[in-house]
Amino acid sequence: MFSSCADPKTLEGLSWLVCYLTSGKHIDFYWSFLTVLTLLAVTAPVALTFGFGGAMAARSHVAPVRLVGKTYTAMVRGVPDIVFFLFFVIALDQGIEWMKHQVVCPDWTQPIRQGLEFRVCPEAKVPSNSSAQIWHQLYGFALAVFTFAIVFGAFAANVLYGAMNAVPRAQLETAESYGMTPRQVFRRILVPQMWVYALPGLSNLWMILIKATPLLFLLGVKDIVYWARELGSAKTQAYAYPHPDWRLWYFLFLMVCYLLMTRLSEIVLNKLAKRLNHGQATAAGEAMRRTAQ
């Protein structure tokens, strides 16, 4: 990055450290923080949407829809989420290729599962073999985001389902007695009021989501954990910047970053809760009223 870093073997002390920390691989490492933040920024709204859909389905009056919703919300309870992470990434990948295979090469006669192999016609590969490396990485990232969204959507569905049930029944009955249709009651009364009940659960979920981001590494995305391992491992004299095993310091750095992120979120979410609870007919709102007196 700097011109003085052209020959790192001659450097010493602080200038060595500066050059080391701005080497090309380290720049990649810093960019991978953006990967994590992107994951958070994309997953949170998508998962919330999934959760909303799941909660609505679980409340539905149509039995099959309700069953789907209940199954979706129940799925995360008994099984470790990491199983879902590992499962969905392969399953989604194979599912997409299988569907594309059905469309692109309908006259393919060989079976798709040949013993230990999953073989679709070459045109159905996603992304196609000829496409650039960046597309492969993006596809991998998109699959990871979608997987996160499915799993966290199920968590969010649980929270939102509980919150929808927590809205006082009298509120909905009043709206019905004014002649609102079920859809109007849902949109005008239920949804605006449920957020204050959902907030504790959703903030908990946000913390969990932050703490689940290192699992990206398991899904094959080059995230901060990947780079910390890569950069921290011992480097021999063959490398430009030889150093012993420094993984401990890299992971310590990651840990501090995560602690900062969770602490910051906690402060912001507490502020938000205060604002939402203000004037609400709940225990928290009542406590605020008392202290204000």
Binding site: P80, D81, I90, A91, L116, F118, L248, M255
Partner: protein
Amino acid sequence: MTCWETIGAYAFRSLGFGEKLLPRTDFTLCQQFTLIGSGLIWNVYFGALALMLGFFLSNALALSKASHKPWARKPAEWFIFVFRGSPLFIQFFLAYSALVMLPRGGVDVLGLHLPTSWMTSAWAGALFVLFLNTSAYAAEIFYGALMSVPKGDLEAAEAYGISGWAKFRRIQWPTMLRLAWPAYTNEAIFLFHATTLVFFSGFPAFQQRGDALYYANYFADKTFNPFVPYPIVAFYFILLTGTLIGIFGLVNRRLNRHLPSNTRSKIRLRPQLIR
């Protein structure tokens, strides 16, 4: 190979008994069920031991967090903050890379030679991390419960002349445990779920002795078919979760036995934590 022979060969494979080589071709459903079940031994080992040891540390931490003296409160607060605020996955990596830095040959303390190499193996290192982690989460739960012990109970105790240690042992602590139990059950369940991370986080699976998810991942990689091994893991974990809820439910019943049935706290499974 019949299914019984497979069970004989692989039932304790995760502990190093039985067949040395894992199956390489012609994977049967029986093999997958047996090996993954064998791996579950490790999940139970990690979960059960960490939970039992963690119970004591978490109680101590909850008490010191509730203390008025800063020298007792601050360390507990920091401990809980660090372990609850950072991902378990990073904690595993961090602990492993710290443990491998210990001198290979062991250390000499006051003339005693202490071997250190065993600490980098999963059964010790990962257990240690899980123990500290669950202690922090449980301590927060117990602390919350300790704070919500009804004021009237304590005043009644003092009116009867029960104070100090006796008050704590006979009134405060049992009530804290009772109030915390549903949340603690959740914590236990998600601790067992978290044990699946161990062999994905730096700790090596010596001679391919891994946990349930390790073997499931092995099968999924080899057969390129995720639709069999992962549902098997899911099946085993649902069983495990059910068993846990059963056991904790019994304890819960005992803790609530003096209350009228409509005021007892029920265990409700709430997805709380991925760490």
